[in-house]
Symmetry: C2
Subunit: 227 residues, 2 copies
């Protein structure tokens, strides 16, 4: 019997790798991408391309958050630039989107319940982003407890597991795993800005570049764009 997993797919390197991990673990993955009003909506194009590539079902949900409160939603809030990894790891940056993973996981949970999925996969990792509270294992465990209490399948004793397979991984380890699993890294989009090419200076670009450097691999997204 097939085991279905809902895989949150932003179009970035981590979520694409988490999707491939789910597939590699024998799940039938269904991708779920969410337009929450992010300025770097370009990542959704990457998500579509990746899901089409491996021929899986892909659901898009649109829920633009009108209240802003994040540099990813409001162009008047500056995106931090040119910080090194140790600076990025300090505190909660302006790119934090209030309750974003809670919104994402609640939508994934609704979809999972309708489809009888056993798991939700999310590409969150806590090492690079220790400041994001909703990327920590204790948060995912709290979400599992919530689903036990607040869903039909939960009260019937059926568990929906929140699987964050990369939560303890370094970016370089994620990249090596992605290469091993055949993730089309050249299509993934990490930059917080929605320009034609990655900016190279936002936290996300800096962590990606550092990860590729430490993995000893050239970033195919930059090669394919001749950057």
């Amino acid at each position: 019997m097939k085991r279905v997993a809902i895989c949150l797919l932003s179009g970035g390197l981590d979520s694409a790798t988490a999707l491939y991990v789910a597939r590699n673990q024998g799940y039938e993955p269904i991708a779920l991408s969410i337009n929450y009003g992010q300025l770097h909506l370009k990542e959704i194009e990457s998500a579509i391309r990746i899901a089409e590539h491996i021929r899986i079902e892909h659901q898009l949900v649109s829920v633009p958050l009108p209240w802003g409160g994040s540099a990813l939603l409001d162009s008047n809030i500056p995106i931090p630039e040119e910080r090194d990894a140790s600076e990025i790891a300090q505190g909660i940056p302006s790119t934090y989107v209030p309750a974003r993973n809670t919104i994402f996981l609640s939508l994934a949970a609704s979809f999972a319940e309708v489809r009888g999925a056993e798991a939700i996969f999310i590409g969150a990792n806590m090492l690079d982003y220790s400041g994001y509270p909703d990327c920590r294992p204790e948060y995912f465990r709290a979400f599992e407890r919530l689903l036990e209490q607040g869903t039909k399948c939960g009260v019937e004793g059926k568990v929906i597991m929140i699987n964050a397979p990369l939560v303890h991984s370094k970016k370089s380890e994620i990249i090596k795993l992605a290469v091993q699993l055949g993730v089309p890294l050249e299509w993934t989009w990490s930059c917080y800005k929605g320009n034609d090419a990655p900016c190279g200076v936002c936290d996300s670009c800096i962590l990606r570049a550092k990860g590729f450097q430490e993995a000893g691999i050239q970033d195919p997204a930059l090669i394919s764009k001749n950057i």
Copy 2:
């Protein structure tokens, strides 16, 4: 200093009363209504009218859930009709929307964090709908634990309280409270169907009628429509 509360306002009797309770407790309420693709979208008109009436800020968020799985989302799934209150209280009906309150509360939490709100008010009650798992106090406590773990304000020690003031109330008690607080009950919309007038036979119409009968009050929504 003003204490802000985000009040989930569907446009029904319970959520409108919960909003008035928040106001009565001294909160500055901000209403939040969510179009999740419900066939009875008419309730949103009621929500708009009520929020305008008491001149409060009102935010609308649209997140149509494409996966169906509920009679409230999919017109191919029948809405139960002509059940008495004891039948309605048994099991989880086809009008259950998977993870609906989790989606609603996650959006409310995001909004609450951006606005520095101290509480989220929700009109859920467990007596009439014992079958809905996401209407129980233990579920709301689990959601508070989740927000402690998964939000910036939570990790900084600031609590967002999930306040379900009607959770233990009978419908007749809610109606009496609503009358006492001046809730414009004639504008509230409870029917699961989106017709011009309430159908009178869905669970929601039946519980409403029973509540008014037990409270010894005529339903002003029916009087104003000459039903």
